[in-house]
């Protein structure tokens, strides 16, 4: 079985793809059946993925040499592209995580989407997303990865815009796609350069060739390539400055936010950088940039999250911030820490989004956390699982987030990036604060009389419980005392850092301080007067943070002024210069010359006859006065 699963891992993306086709072409009219097909496809994938992952994680060979099998996709002289599967601990872990989380979220969605007119379509999109995401994960070739990368982008577009009759959803979907497209432009250039310089896009071949890149190219070019490749992850993973689409993406149904915009798709960027770490590893400049981007984004997004009011927006900024953490870890060269955080984050962030969904479901889509309160009494399962998620993201031991965050902080400290370490630590404090601000505002405190919350049905709460368990214990696979994770997922050679108790204790203190501050401001003080006073005192900072540093407005202005301006300019040029002056100008010259010459057409027969006569006369005169031989030539050579 394990053997079969490992050598047929292509089934993992294929099964959801089949579900997609089945739903679209066959079962669309039957909602329950469609949902069943979708869930069944993903669960089957999950089984295969689990078996394959088991196979990988029991054989240490695969950390050195991945299992690769592929077929030729298309080829021509000088351009051969394969598609295939590359199984190593990283991709096996990712495959397992994605199928597991996706299965849980799909099950959740069967309850959440109840009664929606687009039920079947929704599940077909989910299946398509699952297929694309898994294709991305197993890719053995960067072009294949890019294809999947764009396809997940498409699914994201379709699902964000799922409530397409809402203008906000429509615009958010478009924004997500276009923003990612801008980033993908860079990525595409990077891939093209790789193809041109190294003649291949296969991951294993590239890794081999880049390890002695001097034979192919210079350091400068390689740096440029690395930066171009990194543009893609900046967009897809919502890093500064292209993070703007991710909070807007919350227009989509909540299971989508949980699956795509928290657990899986948005970390594809991290995964891509992780997959191509052999490239970044050669280029210290790029590594620094990745680390700085990550660290800055983490802090930046956290600073926005602390003032937001909409529940899903807070979570979205938190996602941006946490992905910043992962990027930071990658930039520090620690694939271990980055993937570890990706793993734990998937569980607790999916959990929190699903909880948020459950809350929204209960409150009929009232999203402002200030209008909630005391929900934990009416919705105990949702509430307490949310608390587990909150503990995990804040980094309270022994919950999952603690271990992975510790790993990242340790990596920053050990590599001597003290500024980044400081930023990460500050972010950890802010994360604990804003997350618990959300929890205290929404779950605790007084109940609002106008809300009539109720606990969600079983098919929604079961995934919550499962994810809560995973968020609680998911980090135990990589504790400093039992470094299972660290032995399997690494770049170069395994990283065995001694447990640094100072950092551990420090991070716990920061987390607890954040939670305590939130408790003080939003829970202990029922009137929340202190919170308001604080906001009032730092009015400027509060406004800037609440308005997300006005970055959306700047982009919008840029887009309207320059892009649309240029568009109008080009169009006017087309109409008035290319078409007006040249094309119609030439036509006008033709017409005018015709008008000039038609004066000669008097319409009188006798005028014509006169001209005719004069013409004959002229010919006769010419012939009479020319040399006979020339004349013969003129008249056509008749002797």
């Amino acid at each position: 079985m394990v053997e079969f699963a490992m050598h047929n891992a292509w089934l993992v993306p294929l099964l959801p793809a089949l579900s997609f086709l089945i739903i679209i072409f066959l079962t669309k009219p039957w909602k329950k059946l469609s949902a069943l097909v979708c869930v069944a496809g993903m669960v089957l994938s999950c089984v295969i993925a689990t078996l394959a992952a088991y196979g990988v994680f029991t054989n240490h060979e695969f950390t050195e040499k991945p299992l690769v099998y592929s077929v030729r996709w298309f080829s021509m002289a000088g351009l051969n592209i394969d598609v295939g599967v590359q199984l190593d601990p990283t991709s096996a872990m990712m495959m397992f995580m994605v199928t597991l989380v996706a299965s849980l979220i799909f099950i959740y969605a069967t309850g959440y989407m109840e009664g929606d007119p687009g039920y079947s379509v929704f599940f077909s999109y989910l299946s398509l997303f699952g297929a694309s995401m898994l294709l991305l994960v197993v890719s053995s070739n960067l072009l294949q990865m890019f294809v999947a990368w764009e396809l997940v982008g498409l699914c994201s577009y379709l699902l964000i815009g799922f409530y397409s009759h809402k203008i906000s959803a429509r615009e958010a979907a478009k924004k997500a796609f276009i923003t990612c497209r801008v980033a993908d432009f860079g990525l595409l250039l990077g891939l093209l350069s790789l193809q041109i310089v190294f003649g291949t896009l296969n991951l294993t071949e590239l890794a081999e060739k880049i390890s002695h890149f001097e034979q192919y190219t210079t350091m400068g070019i390689l740096t440029l390539i690395a930066l171009l490749v990194f543009a893609g992850p900046i967009g897809k993973s919502g890093q500064f400055p292209l993070h703007v689409w991710l909070p807007d993406a919350m227009e989509g149904p909540t299971p989508v936010s949980a699956l795509i915009h928290a657990a899986t798709m948005v970390v594809a960027g991290v995964y891509l950088v992780g997959r191509t770490l052999f490239l970044f590893h050669e280029v210290p400049t790029a590594m620094e940039l990745v680390a700085v981007t990550g660290g800055f984004t983490a802090l930046f997004a956290a600073s926005i999250a602390i003032t937001q009011r909409e529940i899903k927006r807070i979570l979205a900024y938190s996602t941006v911030s946490q992905i910043g953490y992962m990027m930071l870890a990658l930039g520090l060269g620690s694939l271990t820490a980055s993937m570890f955080h990706l793993w734990t984050h998937a569980f607790f962030k999916a959990l929190m989004f699903l909880c948020a969904g459950s809350v929204l479901h209960a409150l009929h889509h009232k999203a402002d956390v200030w209008e909630m309160g005391g929900l934990i009494k009416k919705m105990p399962i949702t509430g307490w699982t949310f608390v587990v998620g909150g503990l995990a993201i804040a980094g309270v031991p022994p919950f999952a987030g603690f271990w992975s965050k510790d790993e990242i902080l340790l990596a920053a400290f050990d590599t001597g990036h003290y500024v980044l370490f400081g930023m990460a630590a500050l972010t950890a404090f802010m994360t604990a604060f804003y997350m618990w601000r959300l929890i205290f505002l929404a779950l605790f405190g007084d109940e609002k009389p106008e809300n009539h919350p109720h606990e969600s049905p079983l098919n929604m709460t079961l995934p919550l419980i499962a994810l809560a368990v995973l968020s609680a214990v998911g980090g135990l696979v990589g504790t400093p005392w039992a470094p299972f994770w660290q032995e399997w997922i690494f770049f170069g050679h395994p990283h065995h850092a001694d447990p640094n108790y100072l950092i551990m204790i420090g991070s716990v203190v920061l987390a607890l301080a954040g939670i305590y501050l939130a408790y003080n401001l939003y829970c202990a003080d029922k009137t929340r007067a202190k919170a308001h006073a604080l906001a009032e005192r730092y009015r400027f900072f509060w406004t800037v943070s609440y308005n997300k540093y006005y970055i959306d407005e700047i982009y919008l202005w840029f887009n309207h002024t320059f892009i649309d301006g240029a568009a109008r300019l080009f169009y006017l040029f087309d109409i008035y210069v290319v078409d007006g002056v040249f094309v119609n100008g030439i036509a006008a010259i033709t017409r005018l010359s015709g008008e000039g010459l038609r004066v000669t057409q008097t319409g009188r027969l006798q005028n014509y006859a006169l001209v005719f006569f004069l013409g004959v006369l002229a010919v006769a005169v010419v012939l009479a006065f020319t040399d006979p031989s020339t004349a013969a030539g003129l008249t056509g050579g008749v002797k």
């Binding site: 298309f74 021509m76 764009e150 498409l154 397409s164 078409d579």
Partner: protein
């Protein structure tokens, strides 16, 4: 089917349909449409057969038919296909068949309409299967007349009148073909001098062409570049295209943007580049510059449009810029990309125009501010629209991505920064394609369109046929590329050896 003149049959099936239609009473419009469908279906089925039984490993000319015609000029009825012409032939038939169904609701003089449509399809096919320059030109000119009549009678007037559009289209192309004709005749005369006897076959002309002096090749190529370039709507000779498509009836827009335009690109590759390699080498950078200019310029212009057909019109100009860029890269990969992209764009543009046509037919408007929320009311039409829009922006998994990628590889290698400007076009394309989609299909549904009927029955054919090709071609690009590469590799081997020679009399 050895010895069976399958290419001639493909050519004549629509003609036969047209002849039969002349005997049908004019009010039997259903029967007329069915006959047109059968005629184009026969062609499509046969060209699918030819496509899949063509031996790509062997390559070269296959299914050749050669009957002497005008001996004094060395003209033969010489039809044959290779890896470059076969995709174009298939494309023509896929689109031709779909176009018949896209015009299923034509009520104004249906008999004349379908007769002209069938003749148009035949004309376009003829240019792709001809392996004789005379036959090629003959079909090239055959195409123009039905187009003109179809536009001015069945067209629609919006920003410009249909008469203006038809006139502009026809005259522009005739001017282009006049230059082309001069080039071809001059070339033919010079080639006859080299060969010692007049010969119109592509192969013979290519042998003769590479022996011409570099100077001759250069100016002959310039004439052909203008002729074919204006047909492929090369910037700045593109302005017939948006107006023409906007004025033309749906089927004509489909065929024109889908395949007719490709005759230009095809001619540039299969005639100009193949026969005048040194000239092509000289003009290649200029083609690349014009290509990039076209890509960016038309994409920006498309962004400013509010009429759906103009968007698609400018978008097709923009995509043809990629073809020019690819030919300008002067490499096997580039030619592969150029031909494959023409195929991909043909399918996509045809689907786009058929969808826009249906939207216009049902809502009586193409003006985007008057549209919105159609996804709820006509979901299948919305699927078709989105498929076309996504293919247009080069979404992987649909047919146009790999050709574009191929073009990018080829051109980035040769032109670097210039190519980057062209590649940036993918952002603009995404911008206008998604804007058009969003503003037409999404957003709050409008009451006045609540009664609209979704496409069904025969109207589904374009979506099914072209949509299938879009998806299958995207997932299995080798279906297309094995074919194209077998032609492009042979062609570029010839071209590169000829360029090394560098023109004999230099």
């Amino acid at each position: 089917m050895n010895g069976f003149p399958v290419l001639t049959t493909i050519l004549l099936a629509p003609v036969a349909a047209a002849l039969i239609m002349t005997f049908i009473p004019r009010n039997e419009s259903k029967l007329i449409k069915c006959i047109a469908a059968v005629g184009t279906f026969v062609s499509m089925a046969l060209s699918l057969y030819v496509y899949f039984s063509y031996d790509t490993a062997l390559g070269g000319l296959q299914f050749a038919e050669k009957i002497p015609w005008i001996r004094d000029l060395g003209v033969n009825w010489f039809l044959a296909v290779d890896g470059i012409s076969l995709p174009m032939l298939l494309l023509t038939n896929l689109i031709g068949f779909s176009a018949v169904f896209a015009s299923w609701n034509v009520d104004n003089r249906p008999r004349e309409f379908f007769i002209l449509l069938c003749l148009l399809i035949t004309g376009v096919m003829g240019t792709f299967v001809a392996h004789d320059l005379f036959i090629f030109l003959l079909f090239y000119e055959v195409v123009v007349i039905p187009i003109y009549i179809l536009v001015i009678i069945w067209g629609s007037s919006k920003r410009v009148t249909k008469e203006y559009a038809g006139m502009k289209l026809t005259i522009y192309l005739l001017i282009g073909s006049a230059f082309l004709l001069v080039g071809v005749i001059a070339f033919f005369v010079k080639a006859a001098g080299v060969l010692g006897q007049p010969n119109m076959s592509f192969t013979a002309l290519a042998e003769a062409g590479k022996q011409l002096s570099a100077f001759d090749q250069t100016w002959l190529f310039a004439l052909m570049l203008f002729g074919f370039g204006s047909l492929v709507s090369m910037w700045p000779f593109h302005s017939w295209s948006p107006d023409g498509y906007a004025g033309a009836p749906t089927a004509v827009s489909m065929i024109h943007a889908g395949v007719l335009k490709k005759i230009g690109g095809y001619g540039l590759v299969k005639i100009a580049l193949y026969m005048l390699p040194v000239g092509a080498k000289f003009w290649a950078p200029y083609m690349a510059v014009l290509g990039v200019a076209g890509v960016t310029y038309a994409a920006f212009a498309a962004l400013a449009q509010k009429d759906l057909k103009y968007i698609v019109g400018y978008s097709s100009v923009s995509h043809m810029g990629y073809v020019m860029l690819a030919i300008g890269s002067f490499s096997v990969i580039g030619i592969n990309g150029a031909v494959a992209n023409m195929f991909a764009h043909g399918v996509m543009a045809a689907l786009f125009f058929s969808t826009v046509g249906f939207i216009y037919e049902k809502t009586h408007t193409r003006w985007i501010p008057d549209l919105g929320g159609l996804a709820r009311q006509v979901p299948r039409l919305a699927v078709a629209f989105m498929l076309a829009a996504l293919a247009s922006l080069g979404l992987p998994g649909l047919i146009s991505f790999i050709p574009e990628f191929t073009i990018f590889v080829a051109s980035f290698k040769v032109y670097g920064g210039l190519a980057v400007i062209g590649i940036a076009g993918i952002i603009l394309t995404a911008l206008y394609a998604l804007r058009a989609g969003a503003n037409t299909l999404f957003g709050p549904p409008r009451e006045e369109y609540d009664h609209l009927e979704d496409i069904r029955g025969p109207e589904m054919v374009p979506l099914v046929v072209l949509g299938t090709v879009l998806v299958v071609g995207g997932i299995l690009p080798s279906l297309l590329f094995d074919m194209v590469n077998s032609g492009a590799a042979t062609l570029m081997t010839h071209v590169e050896s000829a360029v090394k020679l560098g023109g004999v009399f230099k």
